[in-house]
Every structure is written in structure tokens, then in C-alpha cells.
């Protein structure tokens, strides 16, 4: 120990049709979940120690942070503020034996919690930056700190070529769900709420990796690849 036997046993138990379809007493359902959680905890230790030995890093802390959410891109440790030239690096691993291409969607966020302040400030700044013709996805003001206007971000592949990406507004229902999961798993509301999905097409070789770099982009003379959204809402009266 630590090893993954307990996780294997818990997963084996969870193959029972009661676990798969939820047709069991509440305490039995809780027991399935508890065994999986104990198994997960122990397996996480195995991953931590093996990563530490692979990367030969002495302290355990380097081996990354744990994320209990179903979608790890929601975890704080996977958030990067793209100001000052930082890049978010996304490593994609393909566990199947054939080359795949799939759309990756990760949440992009704004610094402000209150939409009203956000939209007011961003409108003012947006006009200013358009006037200055130097569109920036960030605008920092002495009062409110930096606002991520979620403008043009650029996605590049491992060769440095820019690839097509798209910002998709995250509408209410998704936000409600995102908050729900944060509450259910972390017991607290998320610090900030994402406003967009950043979507781009990623490919990876069989049983292989690929790396993508996400950075803040500059407005181009031509339309940027991540075109802004055209939103159509059919209204009842229309």
C-alpha cells in the first residue's frame, strides 16, 4: 500500500445492476459511493508518489493539485490569468488506439462577480480601447483591477501555428449547473463564474499526447479566427 486494489474492488462492486441503475436502498447507494471515494483517495496517493518519482521532484507539492470535480477545468488550480504574457498550456492525452480529433471546451471567465458593474465598466473600457485602436482582452483600471474582457484569445498548437477557436457564451442553465456542482462537491459557491466556453479542435495520436497554448491575442486587421457570436433568440411575439 498505497495501491489501487481498493479502487479495483469498488469499481467491480459498482458493476452490479443496482449500482449502474440506482435501484437500491439509499444506504446501499451511499455505500457504493463511499467505497469508490476511499478507493479514489488511495489511488490518488499512488499517482502522487509515482509522478514525484517520475519527475524526480523531491517535494510532493510539485506533482500538481487534486481536483475532485467531474470536469477538472473548473478547478481553481487549472485557472490561469493570461495577463503579462502567461500562457495556459493544455495537454491532451488520447487513451484510444486510433488518432482522434475532438472539440475541447474549457471555461473562460471574467474577474467581476456583478454583471451590471462588469457590463458597465467593460462598455466604457471597450469604447476607450476601440478609440485607442489597440484592442486588449484586458483592461486594468485603478479602481477595479483587471477585467478579463474575454476578448480575442489565441490558441496555438505545439508547432506555434494558430488554430481556429471560438468563444461560446455560457448561458444561465449551464451557470446554474456549474454552481450546483461546485456546491455539491466543494460545499461552496465558486469564487468567480465563467462567462464563456473557449472551444477549439484538438487532435492526438493513438495512445499519445498533444499540447496547446492559449494566450491573450491582439486584434487583427482581418476578422480574428474566434469570430464573435451571432446570437439569435426567437421571441414569442415575433
Amino acid at each position: 500500500r498505497p495501491n489501487t486494489d481498493y479502487l479495483a474492488d469498488a469499481l467491480a462492486l459498482a458493476q452490479h445492476h443496482d449500482a449502474v441503475s440506482g435501484t437500491s436502498k439509499q444506504h446501499v447507494a451511499n455505500d457504493y459511493a463511499k467505497r469508490l471515494s476511499i478507493g479514489y483517495e488511495e489511488a490518488a496517493k499512488v499517482v502522487e508518489t509515482s509522478l514525484a518519482s517520475i519527475t524526480r521532484s523531491s517535494s510532493k507539492t510539485d506533482s500538481g493539485k487534486k481536483c475532485l470535480l467531474l470536469n477538472i477545468s473548473y478547478c481553481p488550480s487549472s485557472e490561469v490569468d493570461l495577463s503579462n504574457g502567461k500562457n495556459l498550456v493544455v495537454v491532451v492525452y488520447n487513451p484510444l488506439g486510433w488518432k482522434r480529433e475532438d472539440i475541447i471546451r474549457i471555461p473562460a471567465r471574467s474577474e467581476m462577480n456583478s454583471t451590471v458593474m462588469y457590463s458597465f465598466i467593460s462598455t466604457v473600457h471597450w469604447l476607450l480601447s476601440l478609440l485607442l485602436l489597440s484592442y486588449k482582452p484586458f483592461v486594468c483600471s485603478p479602481i477595479l483591477g483587471c477585467l478579463v474582457i474575454d476578448g480575442n484569445v489565441i490558441v496555438k498548437d505545439h508547432r506555434g501555428n494558430e488554430i481556429e477557436s471560438q468563444l461560446v457564451p455560457l448561458l444561465n442553465a449551464s451557470l446554474a449547473i456549474r454552481n450546483y456542482y461546485s456546491m455539491a462537491y466543494l460545499g461552496k459557491f465558486p469564487s468567480v463564474t465563467p462567462k464563456y466556453w473557449l472551444a477549439f479542435s484538438a487532435s492526438a495520436p493513438p495512445l499519445g499526447l498533444n499540447t496547446y497554448f492559449i494566450s491573450s491575442g491582439k486584434q487583427k486587421a482581418i476578422a480574428a479566427p474566434s469570430k464573435n457570436q451571432v446570437v439569435y433568440s426567437s421571441k414569442e411575439k415575433q
Binding site: H17, V20, S21, G22, T23, S24, K25, Q26, A29, G64, I72, S73, S78, V80, G85, K86, N87, L88, V89, V90, V91, V92, Y93, N94, P95, L96, R100, E101, D102, I103, I104, E164, S165, Q166, L167, V168, L171, A173, S174, A176, Y181, M183, A184, G187, A199, F200, S201, A202, A204, F213, P225, S226, Q229, V230, V231, Y232, S233, S234, E236, Q238
Partner: protein, 284 residues
């Protein structure tokens, strides 16, 4: 205009703005064109002491279709994907996505908490209706392996005669782990799922998936309590909300198995993502 076409590639989904729902499926590469309607409804189960509907015994006492709310149908378009947001009601929300380069439609559903203030347990299904002549035959996987042929018959043989009241036909949805499909003389309509759900086809050209349920009675077959799980956040308990996806694709006859097999694996083993940040050349 009433008709809205969605999809950045060969696959186009046709929505009706007035009815606020899906009405058609067109694939310009395979020349498949089919009327497809998708809707939500829920079954209410029998509650008589002799044999109540419960975890194992499914004795629907009526079905209630759910019309999409008067809320707007919101379409988001872009170079990589198009999305359609539909609010069916206060506890069902659906996002339909069509990706560039992909020839299937992705339906993300958010269902719950299922209301029980009316004292009625509900079993929520989504229905996909077409004009295909499928002769009451459909195919469901058995634990992700072969697809087995199922033929829907009006009455289950196992019920002793006379126990059948007109309203409640014993109709056991199959457990779907990978997916289900129907076919006619020239097309196959396949649905793949991302978790185990109930599935059946009780009318020609029609598929239904049971996505979520919240019951208030036990059927006396061993669970000995109603399936009414709740989750409590800050001492406020409510029924479970589930989020999931299923994928729909219509192919010319004989061309669907390849997609079912390969994409089924890709649903089960998605890309694994890891995040880190890079400042200059320093990776941290």
C-alpha cells in the same frame, strides 16, 4: 422565418422557432434527410397496493408530454460549433450542439430536481420520433457488447391473465449502456449514451430514453423504499439534478455500425486533459 438550420458542416439540424423544437435532420454528404422530432415527457406510475410501479416494476399510469416553455430558443453560431439552448420547463434544460467536422448531434440535458409537490412520482423520458418504418423492432446493447434485437409486444407474457388493467401495460424499458438503434429499408437511426439509462421503442420509428426518475412508492421487489434520493446543500435538501449527454446520428443502411463502435469507445474514453501554465520558457 420559422425554420432555423443549425450546424457549421455537412450535418444540419432544423428547428422550428414557433414550436421551439427540433423538426428535421439533413446530412448533405450522405444525402440522408429525415423528419426528426424530439420531445420530453414523464410517466406517472400505478400506485395500487397490489402492484405499485417502482424501481423494478414499470407500470405507467399515463404519460404527460412537456411542451417547451415560452422561453426563447437561443441559437449560438460560430466556426467550430453551433448551439441551441432550449428551456423545456423550470427543471429541464437542453443544449443541442453540432460540431464542425462531426456528423452527429450532441444533446446535453439537465434534468431536476423533479418536483413532487403534487405527490406524484415521475419517470422522465426524452422521445425521438421519425417516420421510419421499423416494424416495432429495435436494437439495444448488452453491457456495451453486441446489440441485441428487441421486438416490442403489447403485453408481457409473464403477467397472469386478468391482472392487466387497461391503463398499465407492463413495459420494461431495457437498460442501455452504450446505445440503441432502429432501422428501416434505407436508414439507421442510432442513439449513443454517456451513462446507463432506460430505453425502449414502443411505436414504429420512435425511440425513447428514460433519463431520470423520482418515485414515491416501492414496488415490493426488494428495494423496500421509494427511489427518492435527495442532496442537501447548507441544510436545504432537494431532489437530484442530473446532467448528461446523448448523441444522435442517422446513416444510410449498413453504415452506422462503424460510428457506433468507434464513437462509443470515444464516449467511454474521452481525451484526458491536464493544465499547466507557461511564463516565458518556464513551465510551472
Amino acid at each position: 422565418k420559422d425554420v432555423i438550420e443549425v450546424g457549421p458542416g455537412d450535418l444540419k439540424l432544423v428547428f422550428s422557432a414557433k414550436q421551439r423544437k427540433l423538426i428535421g435532420y439533413i446530412n448533405s454528404r450522405t444525402k440522408v434527410k429525415e423528419t426528426v422530432r424530439q420531445s420530453y415527457s414523464f410517466y406517472t406510475g400505478a400506485t395500487d397496493i397490489k402492484q405499485a410501479s417502482g424501481a423494478y416494476i414499470f407500470r405507467p399510469n399515463g404519460t404527460n408530454s412537456l411542451k417547451p416553455d415560452h422561453q426563447a430558443l437561443t441559437v449560438l453560431r460560430g466556426p467550430i460549433l453551433d448551439e441551441v439552448h432550449q428551456r423545456i420547463n423550470s427543471w429541464i434544460y437542453q443544449i443541442t450542439r453540432v460540431y464542425k467536422g462531426k456528423e452527429h448531434a450532441e444533446f446535453e440535458f439537465i434534468v431536476g430536481p423533479i418536483p413532487i409537490s403534487d405527490g406524484i412520482g415521475k419517470e422522465v423520458v426524452t422521445k425521438i420520433l421519425t417516420h421510419m418504418k421499423t416494424s416495432k423492432t429495435f436494437y439495444t446493447d448488452s453491457s456495451g457488447r453486441d446489440f441485441l434485437e428487441r421486438v416490442y409486444s403489447k403485453l408481457s407474457k409473464r403477467l397472469e391473465p386478468g391482472s392487466e388493467s387497461a391503463c398499465c401495460r407492463k413495459l420494461l424499458p431495457c437498460m442501455i449502456n452504450l446505445g440503441m438503434y432502429v432501422k428501416d429499408d434505407d436508414k439507421e437511426l442510432s442513439v449513443l449514451v454517456d451513462r446507463s439509462v432506460g430505453g425502449a421503442s414502443i411505436k414504429d420509428g420512435e425511440l425513447e430514453l428514460m433519463l431520470h426518475r423520482r418515485l414515491l412508492h416501492d414496488d415490493g421487489r426488494g428495494v423496500a423504499e421509494a427511489l427518492n434520493e435527495t442532496v442537501c446543500v447548507q441544510n436545504k435538501c432537494s431532489g437530484l439534478t442530473i446532467v448528461g449527454k446523448y448523441y444522435l446520428r442517422i446513416d444510410p443502411l449498413g453504415e452506422a455500425a462503424k460510428w457506433r463502435r468507434s464513437f462509443g469507445q470515444e464516449i467511454y474514453s474521452p481525451f484526458l486533459l491536464a493544465f499547466t501554465q507557461q511564463e516565458g520558457d518556464r513551465w510551472t
